[in-house]
Amino acid sequence: MEPRARILKVLQQTTGKEISPGADDSLFASGLLDSFALTDFVSGLEEEFGVTIPDSDLSARKFDSISKVDAYLAQKV
Protein backbone atom coordinates (compact mmCIF):
# COMPACT_ATOMS: atom_id res chain seq x y z
CA MET A 1 0.00 0.00 0.00
CA GLU A 2 1.29 3.48 -0.88
CA PRO A 3 2.28 5.74 2.03
CA ARG A 4 -0.55 8.19 1.36
CA ALA A 5 -3.08 5.37 1.40
CA ARG A 6 -1.68 4.16 4.70
CA ILE A 7 -1.84 7.71 6.11
CA LEU A 8 -5.47 7.90 4.99
CA LYS A 9 -6.16 4.57 6.68
CA VAL A 10 -4.78 5.91 9.98
CA LEU A 11 -6.80 9.10 9.55
CA GLN A 12 -9.96 7.11 8.96
CA GLN A 13 -9.25 5.00 12.02
CA THR A 14 -8.66 8.13 14.08
CA THR A 15 -11.83 9.91 12.99
CA GLY A 16 -13.96 6.78 12.66
CA LYS A 17 -15.21 8.09 9.32
CA GLU A 18 -14.80 6.89 5.73
CA ILE A 19 -13.31 10.17 4.60
CA SER A 20 -10.93 10.93 1.76
CA PRO A 21 -9.66 14.52 1.96
CA GLY A 22 -7.47 15.98 -0.76
CA ALA A 23 -3.74 15.63 -0.25
CA ASP A 24 -3.34 19.30 0.57
CA ASP A 25 -6.59 19.85 2.46
CA SER A 26 -6.07 21.15 5.99
CA LEU A 27 -7.14 18.42 8.36
CA PHE A 28 -7.72 21.04 11.07
CA ALA A 29 -9.53 23.67 9.04
CA SER A 30 -11.80 20.97 7.63
CA GLY A 31 -12.64 19.85 11.15
CA LEU A 32 -11.36 16.30 10.63
CA LEU A 33 -8.77 16.68 13.39
CA ASP A 34 -8.76 18.62 16.61
CA SER A 35 -6.11 18.85 19.29
CA PHE A 36 -7.09 15.59 20.95
CA ALA A 37 -7.66 13.62 17.76
CA LEU A 38 -4.22 14.71 16.60
CA THR A 39 -2.71 12.83 19.52
CA ASP A 40 -4.39 9.64 18.34
CA PHE A 41 -3.41 10.37 14.74
CA VAL A 42 0.26 10.73 15.68
CA SER A 43 0.15 7.53 17.75
CA GLY A 44 -1.53 5.73 14.85
CA LEU A 45 1.15 6.92 12.44
CA GLU A 46 3.87 5.67 14.78
CA GLU A 47 2.26 2.25 14.89
CA GLU A 48 1.44 2.02 11.19
CA PHE A 49 4.86 3.14 9.97
CA GLY A 50 6.95 1.68 12.78
CA VAL A 51 8.54 5.03 13.59
CA THR A 52 8.98 7.04 16.76
CA ILE A 53 7.90 10.64 16.40
CA PRO A 54 9.98 12.65 18.86
CA ASP A 55 8.38 15.24 21.11
CA SER A 56 10.38 17.93 19.33
CA ASP A 57 8.30 17.24 16.21
CA LEU A 58 4.95 17.61 18.00
CA SER A 59 3.68 20.54 15.99
CA ALA A 60 0.23 20.52 14.47
CA ARG A 61 1.67 22.17 11.35
CA LYS A 62 3.62 19.02 10.49
CA PHE A 63 0.46 16.94 10.48
CA ASP A 64 -2.03 19.36 8.96
CA SER A 65 -2.48 17.58 5.61
CA ILE A 66 -1.83 14.18 4.09
CA SER A 67 0.92 15.60 1.88
CA LYS A 68 2.68 17.19 4.88
CA VAL A 69 2.47 13.94 6.81
CA ASP A 70 3.76 12.06 3.77
CA ALA A 71 6.73 14.42 3.45
CA TYR A 72 7.46 14.19 7.16
CA LEU A 73 7.33 10.40 7.23
CA ALA A 74 9.49 10.14 4.11
CA GLN A 75 12.28 11.62 6.19
CA LYS A 76 11.67 9.21 9.04
CA VAL A 77 11.16 5.86 7.33
Binding site: F28, D34, S35, F36, L38, T39, V42, D55, S56, L58, S59, A60
Partner: protein, 309 residues
Protein backbone atom coordinates in the same frame (compact mmCIF):
# COMPACT_ATOMS: atom_id res chain seq x y z
CA UNK B 1 12.44 11.81 54.51
CA UNK B 2 9.57 14.13 53.65
CA UNK B 3 5.88 13.81 54.35
CA UNK B 4 2.72 15.47 53.11
CA UNK B 5 1.14 16.89 56.23
CA UNK B 6 -1.80 18.84 54.88
CA UNK B 7 -3.29 21.00 52.17
CA UNK B 8 -5.26 24.21 51.96
CA UNK B 9 -6.94 26.38 49.36
CA UNK B 10 -8.82 29.56 48.71
CA UNK B 11 -11.17 30.36 45.83
CA UNK B 12 -12.66 33.78 45.07
CA UNK B 13 -16.42 33.87 45.60
CA UNK B 14 -17.26 35.30 42.15
CA UNK B 15 -18.43 32.53 39.82
CA UNK B 16 -18.26 32.98 36.05
CA UNK B 17 -20.27 30.30 34.30
CA UNK B 18 -20.21 29.40 30.63
CA UNK B 19 -23.45 31.26 30.02
CA UNK B 20 -21.79 34.50 31.12
CA UNK B 21 -18.50 33.87 29.33
CA UNK B 22 -19.71 32.42 26.02
CA UNK B 23 -21.03 35.62 24.37
CA UNK B 24 -17.83 37.48 25.24
CA UNK B 25 -15.71 35.01 23.27
CA UNK B 26 -18.21 34.20 20.49
CA UNK B 27 -18.83 30.65 21.64
CA UNK B 28 -21.67 28.65 23.09
CA UNK B 29 -21.80 27.37 26.67
CA UNK B 30 -22.18 23.84 25.32
CA UNK B 31 -19.04 24.14 23.20
CA UNK B 32 -16.98 25.39 26.13
CA UNK B 33 -18.13 22.46 28.24
CA UNK B 34 -17.46 19.99 25.42
CA UNK B 35 -13.90 21.10 24.70
CA UNK B 36 -12.82 21.66 28.30
CA UNK B 37 -15.13 19.97 30.78
CA UNK B 38 -15.47 23.35 32.51
CA UNK B 39 -18.87 24.62 33.67
CA UNK B 40 -17.71 27.59 35.68
CA UNK B 41 -14.58 29.23 37.02
CA UNK B 42 -13.84 31.77 39.75
CA UNK B 43 -12.61 35.32 39.15
CA UNK B 44 -10.75 37.36 41.73
CA UNK B 45 -11.95 40.81 42.73
CA UNK B 46 -10.12 43.86 41.44
CA UNK B 47 -8.68 44.39 44.90
CA UNK B 48 -7.26 40.85 45.18
CA UNK B 49 -3.56 40.22 44.58
CA UNK B 50 -1.78 37.00 43.65
CA UNK B 51 0.13 37.15 46.91
CA UNK B 52 -2.98 38.03 48.87
CA UNK B 53 -5.02 35.04 47.77
CA UNK B 54 -1.95 32.84 48.17
CA UNK B 55 -1.72 34.01 51.77
CA UNK B 56 -5.32 32.92 52.39
CA UNK B 57 -4.55 29.45 51.03
CA UNK B 58 -1.37 29.31 53.12
CA UNK B 59 -3.30 30.12 56.29
CA UNK B 60 -5.95 27.54 55.44
CA UNK B 61 -3.23 24.93 54.95
CA UNK B 62 -1.53 25.71 58.27
CA UNK B 63 -4.88 25.59 60.07
CA UNK B 64 -5.78 22.21 58.58
CA UNK B 65 -2.32 20.82 59.31
CA UNK B 66 -2.38 22.10 62.87
CA UNK B 67 0.85 24.02 62.29
CA UNK B 68 1.94 27.59 62.81
CA UNK B 69 3.84 29.91 60.52
CA UNK B 70 6.64 30.14 63.06
CA UNK B 71 7.38 26.44 62.49
CA UNK B 72 8.13 26.95 58.80
CA UNK B 73 11.68 26.59 57.58
CA UNK B 74 10.98 27.68 54.02
CA UNK B 75 8.20 28.85 51.71
CA UNK B 76 8.03 28.07 48.00
CA UNK B 77 5.46 29.94 45.93
CA UNK B 78 4.53 28.95 42.39
CA UNK B 79 2.83 31.45 40.12
CA UNK B 80 2.87 32.30 36.45
CA UNK B 81 0.57 35.29 36.87
CA UNK B 82 2.23 37.23 39.67
CA UNK B 83 1.33 40.92 39.84
CA UNK B 84 4.99 41.80 39.97
CA UNK B 85 7.84 39.77 38.55
CA UNK B 86 10.45 40.74 41.09
CA UNK B 87 10.00 40.31 43.92
CA UNK B 88 7.22 37.81 43.32
CA UNK B 89 4.46 36.82 45.74
CA UNK B 90 6.63 34.62 48.00
CA UNK B 91 7.95 37.50 50.06
CA UNK B 92 4.47 39.03 50.34
CA UNK B 93 3.09 35.73 51.64
CA UNK B 94 5.94 35.35 54.12
CA UNK B 95 5.33 38.85 55.42
CA UNK B 96 1.61 38.18 55.61
CA UNK B 97 2.33 35.16 57.77
CA UNK B 98 4.31 37.39 60.09
CA UNK B 99 7.68 35.95 59.13
CA UNK B 100 10.63 38.31 59.00
CA UNK B 101 13.49 36.04 58.02
CA UNK B 102 12.17 32.70 56.77
CA UNK B 103 13.41 31.98 53.25
CA UNK B 104 10.59 32.52 50.75
CA UNK B 105 11.31 31.75 47.12
CA UNK B 106 9.29 32.16 43.93
CA UNK B 107 8.81 29.54 41.23
CA UNK B 108 7.58 31.49 38.19
CA UNK B 109 6.24 28.49 36.30
CA UNK B 110 2.60 28.41 35.30
CA UNK B 111 0.66 25.17 35.71
CA UNK B 112 3.59 22.93 36.70
CA UNK B 113 4.94 25.26 39.39
CA UNK B 114 3.30 23.67 42.41
CA UNK B 115 4.47 20.19 41.39
CA UNK B 116 7.99 21.59 41.12
CA UNK B 117 7.46 23.14 44.55
CA UNK B 118 6.41 19.81 46.07
CA UNK B 119 9.35 18.00 44.49
CA UNK B 120 11.83 20.63 45.69
CA UNK B 121 10.25 20.70 49.15
CA UNK B 122 10.67 16.94 49.46
CA UNK B 123 14.37 17.38 48.83
CA UNK B 124 14.76 20.44 51.06
CA UNK B 125 12.68 19.29 54.03
CA UNK B 126 15.58 17.45 55.65
CA UNK B 127 17.37 20.78 56.01
CA UNK B 128 14.43 23.17 56.35
CA UNK B 129 12.16 21.02 58.49
CA UNK B 130 8.79 22.25 57.31
CA UNK B 131 8.30 23.70 53.85
CA UNK B 132 5.10 25.44 52.83
CA UNK B 133 4.35 25.15 49.10
CA UNK B 134 1.84 27.60 47.64
CA UNK B 135 0.40 27.83 44.14
CA UNK B 136 -1.46 31.07 43.50
CA UNK B 137 -2.83 32.51 40.29
CA UNK B 138 -5.07 35.29 39.02
CA UNK B 139 -5.21 34.10 35.43
CA UNK B 140 -8.34 36.10 34.59
CA UNK B 141 -6.06 39.14 34.22
CA UNK B 142 -3.86 37.24 31.76
CA UNK B 143 -6.52 36.36 29.22
CA UNK B 144 -8.51 38.47 26.79
CA UNK B 145 -12.27 38.14 27.00
CA UNK B 146 -12.80 38.44 23.26
CA UNK B 147 -13.21 36.06 20.30
CA UNK B 148 -9.46 36.41 19.63
CA UNK B 149 -8.67 35.25 23.14
CA UNK B 150 -11.18 32.42 23.17
CA UNK B 151 -8.72 29.53 23.42
CA UNK B 152 -7.38 30.70 26.78
CA UNK B 153 -10.33 32.74 28.09
CA UNK B 154 -12.59 29.70 28.28
CA UNK B 155 -10.10 27.73 30.34
CA UNK B 156 -8.61 29.84 33.05
CA UNK B 157 -9.81 30.81 36.48
CA UNK B 158 -8.35 32.20 39.69
CA UNK B 159 -7.48 30.54 42.97
CA UNK B 160 -4.77 29.42 45.33
CA UNK B 161 -3.71 26.17 46.93
CA UNK B 162 -1.08 25.17 49.46
CA UNK B 163 0.64 22.11 50.92
CA UNK B 164 2.76 21.59 53.99
CA UNK B 165 5.73 19.25 53.53
CA UNK B 166 7.20 18.09 56.82
CA UNK B 167 10.48 16.28 57.44
CA UNK B 168 9.11 14.25 60.33
CA UNK B 169 5.45 13.40 59.99
CA UNK B 170 2.39 13.51 57.79
CA UNK B 171 -0.31 11.34 56.26
CA UNK B 172 1.82 10.30 53.26
CA UNK B 173 5.55 9.92 52.68
CA UNK B 174 6.91 11.47 49.50
CA UNK B 175 8.76 8.51 48.05
CA UNK B 176 9.94 9.71 44.66
CA UNK B 177 9.59 12.44 42.06
CA UNK B 178 10.78 13.39 38.61
CA UNK B 179 10.95 16.76 36.88
CA UNK B 180 11.72 17.57 33.26
CA UNK B 181 12.11 20.64 31.06
CA UNK B 182 11.89 20.91 27.26
CA UNK B 183 12.97 24.46 26.54
CA UNK B 184 12.95 23.90 22.78
CA UNK B 185 9.14 23.81 22.96
CA UNK B 186 8.78 26.81 25.28
CA UNK B 187 7.09 28.93 22.61
CA UNK B 188 3.96 26.77 22.78
CA UNK B 189 2.98 28.18 26.20
CA UNK B 190 4.21 31.52 27.44
CA UNK B 191 3.45 34.93 28.91
CA UNK B 192 4.15 38.07 26.90
CA UNK B 193 3.21 41.65 27.73
CA UNK B 194 1.10 40.39 30.58
CA UNK B 195 -1.03 38.07 28.43
CA UNK B 196 -0.93 34.30 28.31
CA UNK B 197 -0.50 32.61 24.94
CA UNK B 198 -0.99 28.94 24.16
CA UNK B 199 -0.63 26.78 21.06
CA UNK B 200 -3.38 24.48 22.23
CA UNK B 201 -2.77 21.65 19.77
CA UNK B 202 0.95 21.47 20.49
CA UNK B 203 0.43 21.73 24.24
CA UNK B 204 -2.08 18.90 24.26
CA UNK B 205 0.21 16.77 22.07
CA UNK B 206 3.10 17.31 24.44
CA UNK B 207 1.11 16.94 27.65
CA UNK B 208 -0.78 13.83 26.61
CA UNK B 209 2.51 12.05 25.95
CA UNK B 210 4.82 13.54 28.57
CA UNK B 211 2.61 13.21 31.66
CA UNK B 212 1.86 9.48 31.28
CA UNK B 213 5.54 8.91 30.53
CA UNK B 214 6.58 10.63 33.77
CA UNK B 215 3.94 8.81 35.83
CA UNK B 216 4.89 5.45 34.35
CA UNK B 217 8.54 6.14 35.06
CA UNK B 218 7.84 6.67 38.76
CA UNK B 219 5.53 3.69 39.03
CA UNK B 220 8.02 1.39 37.28
CA UNK B 221 10.91 2.65 39.38
CA UNK B 222 8.96 1.89 42.54
CA UNK B 223 7.42 -1.35 41.24
CA UNK B 224 3.86 -0.11 41.61
CA UNK B 225 1.05 -0.98 39.19
CA UNK B 226 -1.22 1.82 38.03
CA UNK B 227 -4.15 -0.30 39.18
CA UNK B 228 -2.85 -0.13 42.76
CA UNK B 229 -2.74 3.68 42.91
CA UNK B 230 -5.36 5.04 45.29
CA UNK B 231 -5.73 8.36 43.52
CA UNK B 232 -4.18 10.38 40.73
CA UNK B 233 -4.04 14.12 41.40
CA UNK B 234 -3.25 16.04 38.23
CA UNK B 235 -2.98 19.66 37.22
CA UNK B 236 -6.54 20.51 36.23
CA UNK B 237 -5.75 21.72 32.73
CA UNK B 238 -8.63 20.33 30.71
CA UNK B 239 -10.93 17.40 31.46
CA UNK B 240 -10.28 15.94 28.02
CA UNK B 241 -6.55 15.96 28.70
CA UNK B 242 -7.03 14.24 32.05
CA UNK B 243 -9.16 11.64 30.25
CA UNK B 244 -6.32 11.15 27.76
CA UNK B 245 -3.84 10.57 30.54
CA UNK B 246 -6.21 8.12 32.24
CA UNK B 247 -6.62 6.23 28.96
CA UNK B 248 -2.85 6.16 28.43
CA UNK B 249 -2.47 4.75 31.94
CA UNK B 250 -5.23 2.22 31.19
CA UNK B 251 -6.86 3.42 34.39
CA UNK B 252 -10.51 4.40 34.91
CA UNK B 253 -11.05 8.16 34.89
CA UNK B 254 -12.82 7.80 38.24
CA UNK B 255 -9.43 7.25 39.88
CA UNK B 256 -8.35 10.70 38.71
CA UNK B 257 -9.69 13.38 41.03
CA UNK B 258 -11.20 16.25 39.08
CA UNK B 259 -12.75 19.57 40.04
CA UNK B 260 -12.07 21.44 36.82
CA UNK B 261 -15.80 21.60 36.13
CA UNK B 262 -16.19 24.05 39.03
CA UNK B 263 -12.93 26.00 39.00
CA UNK B 264 -11.58 25.82 35.46
CA UNK B 265 -7.83 25.74 34.95
CA UNK B 266 -6.23 27.66 37.81
CA UNK B 267 -2.74 27.04 36.45
CA UNK B 268 -0.17 26.29 39.15
CA UNK B 269 -2.81 26.55 41.88
CA UNK B 270 -4.93 23.74 40.48
CA UNK B 271 -2.85 20.79 41.68
CA UNK B 272 -2.96 21.93 45.30
CA UNK B 273 -6.61 23.02 45.19
CA UNK B 274 -7.42 19.54 43.86
CA UNK B 275 -5.27 17.92 46.53
CA UNK B 276 -7.02 19.92 49.25
CA UNK B 277 -10.47 18.95 48.02
CA UNK B 278 -9.43 15.33 47.55
CA UNK B 279 -7.99 15.17 51.06
CA UNK B 280 -11.10 16.81 52.48
CA UNK B 281 -13.17 14.01 51.03
CA UNK B 282 -11.06 11.30 52.65
CA UNK B 283 -12.57 9.78 55.76
CA UNK B 284 -9.57 7.78 56.90
CA UNK B 285 -5.88 7.19 56.45
CA UNK B 286 -4.31 6.85 53.03
CA UNK B 287 -4.36 3.18 52.06
CA UNK B 288 -2.50 3.21 48.76
CA UNK B 289 -0.06 5.16 46.60
CA UNK B 290 -0.89 8.72 45.61
CA UNK B 291 0.37 10.10 42.30
CA UNK B 292 0.69 13.79 41.43
CA UNK B 293 1.49 15.05 37.94
CA UNK B 294 1.52 18.39 36.17
CA UNK B 295 2.54 19.99 32.91
CA UNK B 296 3.11 23.64 32.18
CA UNK B 297 5.11 26.44 30.70
CA UNK B 298 8.75 25.85 30.08
CA UNK B 299 7.79 23.32 29.03
CA UNK B 300 8.06 21.79 32.48
CA UNK B 301 6.43 18.58 33.63
CA UNK B 302 6.87 15.76 36.05
CA UNK B 303 5.30 13.48 38.61
CA UNK B 304 5.53 12.79 42.31
CA UNK B 305 4.74 9.61 44.23
CA UNK B 306 3.54 9.54 47.84
CA UNK B 307 2.95 6.42 49.88
CA UNK B 308 0.95 5.88 53.07
CA UNK B 309 2.96 7.43 55.87
Amino acid sequence: MAFLRGFGSWLPPRRVNNQELAPLVDATPEWILEVSGIEERRYAADTDTVGGIGLLAAKDCLDKAGATAAELGMILVASGSSDRFCPGPASQIAAGLGLGSTAALDIPVSSAGSLIGLALASQLASAAGRVLVVGTEIMSRRVTLSPEGKSTAILFGDGAGAALVDAENGFARIADSCMYTDGASSETLFMRDGQFYMDGSAVILHASRKMPRAINELLARNQIAAADVEAFLLHQANLNLISRVAAAMKTPLERFFTNIDRYGNTSSASLLIAADEWRGGQSGALTGPLVFSAFGSGLNWGALLALPG
